[in-house]
């Protein structure tokens, strides 16, 4: 599928940037005319991915988060990468309710929500190198465009 549009954002992994990150990605996707529900799905998935970078990958230290968004046809592809600690057992990390920080009231539902709110999720992680989360979502076009 041909690449129609693309942007790359590098931002400091600070909690106050979470809202900016999810809103920016959602705003970029509006060219595909998504529903409010689809926009909220994207916001939720981005929020989870960015939270993981800050809380788990960088563990309180500030590092860079790289967000790349590509639009191919009706598909949005979102890549969120960090150069943090990485983790070895991806299958375990993706289990619902699995958390390495239960004492901090964490739900362990981050990857589960990314999976549920997007159509496709791939996680690549190397200990000491970093993690990349790749998510795709097809934005369904209305059968009948009321503006036509």
């Amino acid at each position: 599928m041909e690449l129609n549009n693309y942007f790359k954002l590098i931002l400091s992994g600070k909690l106050e940037n979470e809202s900016f990150a999810r809103s920016t990605v959602a705003a970029f996707c509006t060219v595909l005319n998504p529903t409010i529900e689809e926009i909220n799905d994207i916001k939720t998935a981005v929020s989870e991915a960015v939270t993981n970078c800050i809380v788990h990958a960088y563990q309180g230290k500030t590092g860079e988060i790289i967000i790349e968004v590509s639009i191919y046809g009706n598909t949005v592809e979102i890549k969120v990468s960090d150069t943090g600690c990485g983790f070895a057992d991806i299958a375990k990390a993706m289990q619902p309710f699995y958390t390495t920080k239960p004492e901090e009231e964490r739900s362990g539902m981050g990857f589960t929500l990314m999976q549920a709110f997007m159509d496709n999720l791939e996680v690549i992680s190397t200990v000491g190198i970093g993690t990349t989360v790749l998510m795709r979502k097809n934005i369904l076009r209305d059968v009948e465009d009321v503006r036509a």
Binding site: E37, T44, V55, R106, L113
Partner: protein
Amino acid sequence: MGIYSEIVKDTLTVYISGDIDEHTAPELRERLDALLNAGGFKRLLFNMGGVDFMDSTGIGMLIGRYKKLKRDNIPVYVEEVNKQMDKIFRLSGLYEIIGLVR
């Protein structure tokens, strides 16, 4: 993020507004716990009508408050949950411990 609360007939209703995420959760937790510690209620109701966005941080925060009150047998309910939050509540099984009031 903001909260407003009132106690009517033994029910503490907490109206939350804004975004619930990793950035806003610490302050929200602190303010909620101050209300919960003050006591004077037999039932807690979260009104989510003013919440624009919630991610999985909200799940942990809500379960934490539920556990805190469970020790005193105080039930927790939620109302005015938007579509995005409803999806999260369903996926995480939150409605099983925090009942939805319609």
